[in-house]
Amino acid sequence: MSTETETSAATVETHKPSVEIGSAVIRFAGDSGDGMQLTGTQFTNTSAVFGNDISTLPDFPAEIRAPAGSLPGVSGFQINFGSHEIRTPGDQPDVLIAMNPAALKVNVGDLVEGGTIIVNEDSFQATNLDKAGYTENPLENGSLESFRVLKTPLTSLTLEAIKASGLDRKQGQRCKNFFALGIVYWMYDRPFDHTVNWIKSKFERNPSIVEANVAALKAGYYYAETTEIFTTHYSIRKANLAPGKYRNVTGNQAIALGAVTAMEKSGRELFYGSYPITPASDILHELARYKKFGVKTFQAEDEIAAIGAALGASFAGDLALTGTSGPGIALKSEFIGLAVMTELPLVIVNIQRGGPSTGLPTKTEQSDLFQAVYGRNGECPVPVLAPGTPGDCFWIAIEAFRIAMRYMTPVLILSDGYLANGSEPWMIPEINDIPDLCFPNATDPENFQPYSRDKETLARPWAVPGTPQLEHRIGGLEKQDITGNVSYDPQNHDYMVRLRAKKVAQITQDIPPTEIYGEPEGDALIVGWGGTHGAITSATELLRAKGLSVSSIQIRHINPLPPDLKDIFSRFKKVFVAEINMGQLWTLLRSTYLIDAISINQVRGKPFTIREISQQVESHL
């Protein structure tokens, strides 16, 4: 394995013992203003470039800056990295970096027994303890006895380290996250030069900030190396990933990249209509940077206009995309209905978050499945796809556009907050291996009918304005078969409702066979969809290692469902459906296949841990 970026010899010779381990889970936690997301991202990228497999879970409050030192203001970033396959951000952190008492309080309960806590000792004074609701100092009252607590005066050490930069106290102490990162780099034997390069380019215009941050990072590293409290460091080898070129992507980045790829493959221009909403805004930010590709981004006045403009762009021949989260989908629903009626290609991304209503904007949930499959007036079938990993978001975006154009239909993608913000190493595909998405416009006026049908797909022609002699009118009123004229005829309505349903139902012809993890038959099958993929697969692995007859499948096509599911279900004694909602896919599968499946669910705004799945399955076996 080689690396494209320089990872030369930043690691200094160290005299402390090094222990090789397979994987580790660490969590950075601090105030929202402490730069924990940035610190976590730096550690992630360094580990990814180093060659580990990784999975991350950023966890931040909905408020941009909740009161400093308060419990609601705690922001966290968890990363699981290892030399073997990593599918989840990890059930429990092995190491917690807590920048203040509130961060300790919020996170200590998650830590593994005997885990390590690195605390910023300087912040454990009366006011902060008070804000965190501690009546006494947990560093002194023995309450952390079951952990290895490494008390580090992060603030004062940082200030000492950055003296030469000339930054004042206030600015200077903001570098303490880099000091902490330096410590963790030493602990896990990672080079720091990737982060040094990043700091240099990020703060290019401000040399004293570069100097201070680099100084803090290095000081943290050497502090860990020389101070006695840090006794051991750990090495985690490169993971055995499939050969290829990799980069790190979040789900939202992957959707944006997938959309641009689909654009290039379709020979059309990409139109993205969107309105700012957590956790989908990053797709807008990402695509807005791609103007040189001819990507059109439209930040609309509201969710409705965002999809309306996208549908207009689709009518006029663009590859149209709109993205939002659950509450935004609620607003877009009427337009989704119009897209179904007018049979125009349009991809709608829902980055699900905790609901109902405003709910938990920054937390993950899978509770919009019913909304996606059923949530519109009338008989309104829409294909629904769900990616399983951040990297899969790329492929799902391409698949969504393919279905949208091939069948002339809106397509919904159900991603979620966990996939959107979480990241993983992603093997960069060969562009030539990605199939073409050429679905030409109608141009032939001879016998042109706006609602005539392709025999195989039942798609109607895509006849865009500007094409001579194809002038026609579409709209939300019921269409007469073939001509597309307004029709209130009862027979025609019945026919058209069934036709639209059939068009979507027969997309099953494009769905590849469902991959089964484990044996194709057995005692138990765990069924999942979306971002729970990693946890379910790992839980299955764990149960199988115990000798239990358990397999699992991931459903990427929620509507229509894969055609082989019935057969697969029939080969297992018990079927479990694990999801972060009250059992939505479970209900869908029960009603579709009349199977007595068992629901495994939680709605805490967090991904499943591997154990909560494995334990529940095991309890039924």
């Binding site: 394995m1 080689s2 494209e4 970026t5 990228n45 470039v49 060659g51 490169k238 050969p243 290829g244 070129k245 990799y246 980069r247 790190n248 990249l257 641009v260 221009e269 209509g273 791609y290 103007k291 040189k292 590709f293 990507v295 059109k296 439209f298 609309a300 006045e301 509201d302 409705i304 206009a305 309306g308 403009a309 549908l311 207009g312 762009a313 689709s314 009518f315 006029a316 021949g317 663009d318 337009f335 209905g337 119009l338 960069i428 562009i431 865009v464 304005p465 500007g466 094409t467 001579p468 002699q469 194809l470 002038e471 009118r473 579409i474 709209g475 939300g476 009123l477 004229n485 307004v486």
Partner: protein, 344 residues
């Protein structure tokens, strides 16, 4: 707008009939919509644009059936949302000539938000708002332009809502072309529609439209021949504002307040306000939108007509500049951007 054609050689030779679709028109007999449709079908051939480049987009309401009757591309969308759809169409293909047909309920009530934002962006669209001051398609409820106290099915004791003035909204939203006309004043309507269609950027036209079923006679004060000259002020660019049978009356300003003066003994034509539709400041145009019957004659014509960068042009410029500066996008490079590493 310059008349363009595809090949640059073929003359575009279209007439009214080319724009009449094969669909049976289903408005109530006597509805003002017929007159507007007729003027539109008569006007569009004058624009010199190939028929396939026209798109009529509408929302929901009686007026919004309009696209079905135009033999062009058409999109009958959902209630209030036509400006959003039209914006998307224009951004997808800036070469198209896009009209938005809306009504007082569609454009100012359910779709008010889209209307103001579409106007402020100065998208090259011609918005025609049919103002009949009533909900027709839902059978007669008061609308945002109905006068206060209006008795309708939903307000048997009279409406307690203040009404909204479409042109004030347009001007407050920085519209670059604002005009008003009246359904049965066909010649004037045709001219105004043509000027609006030739404006580059947003053009907003309010048309007083009689709903003879649910709000008959709402505009008779301005449509009846005997009353028209006293009740309607025809705006003409660069001309003093005069009205009355013999143009014997005019509008003058006292301080910031307009007043009606008799041209003759006490006032000469020089005292009258001169209309200046291209004035960079919208103050005069706004003041004119506030003139209302019965205290004043109702102004019709072009209130405001100014140039500003157009939205789809600005969007295209940005892409072009990005390409000039950064080079054309390369997908391979994009996928490989950021930190990468190779596993062998």
């Amino acid at each position: 707008m310059t008349a363009k054609n595809d090949t640059g050689t073929l003359e575009i030779n279209l007439n009214r009939k080319d724009f009449v679709s094969d669909q049976e028109v289903r408005w109530c007999p006597g509805c003002g919509d017929y007159a507007i449709l007729a003027q539109m079908q008569k006007m569009v051939p004058n624009l010199g644009i190939p028929r396939e480049k026209f798109v009529f987009v509408s929302g929901i309401g009686c007026s919004s059936r309009f696209p079905y009757y135009m033999n062009t591309f058409g999109f009958h969308t959902i209630h209030g949302r036509a400006p959003a759809v039209a914006t998307g169409i224009k951004l997808a293909n800036p070469d198209l000539k896009v009209f938005v047909i809306t009504g007082d309920g569609d454009g100012l009530s359910i779709g008010g938000n889209h209307l103001i934002h579409c106007i402020r962006r100065n998208v090259d669209l011609t918005i025609v708002l049919f103002n009949n001051r009533i909900y027709g398609l839902t059978k007669g409820q008061f609308s945002p332009t109905s006068e206060m106290g209006k008795k309708t099915k939903s307000t048997p004791y009279g409406s307690v809502d203040n009404s909204i003035n479409p042109l004030c909204v347009a001007i407050a939203s920085e519209a670059t072309f604002v005009a008003r006309s009246i359904d049965i004043d066909t010649k004037h309507l045709g001219e105004i529609l043509e000027r609006a269609a030739n404006h580059r950027g947003i053009s907003f036209v309010e048309v007083y439209q009689n709903c003879n079923i649910f709000n008959d006679g709402a505009f008779t004060d301005f449509t009846e021949r005997s009353k028209r000259s006293d009740h309607v002020l025809y705006l003409e660019d660069g001309q003093p504002m005069r009205f009355g049978k013999d143009k014997e009356k005019g509008i003058a300003l006292r301080g910031m307040t307009p007043e009606i003066v008799e041209v003759g003994e006490n006032h000469s034509v020089e005292d009258l306000l001169i209309h200046e539709e291209t004035s960079p400041e919208p103050t005069l145009a706004y003041l004119l939108t506030r003139l209302n019957y019965p205290n004043f004659p109702v102004p019709v014509g072009v209130f405001r007509n100014v140039e500003k960068p157009e939205y789809s042009d600005l969007c295209q410029d940005q892409s072009r500049q990005a390409q000039e500066k950064e080079g054309k996008g390369n997908l391979e490079k994009l996928l490989h951007s950021g930190d990468t590493w190779t596993v062998t």
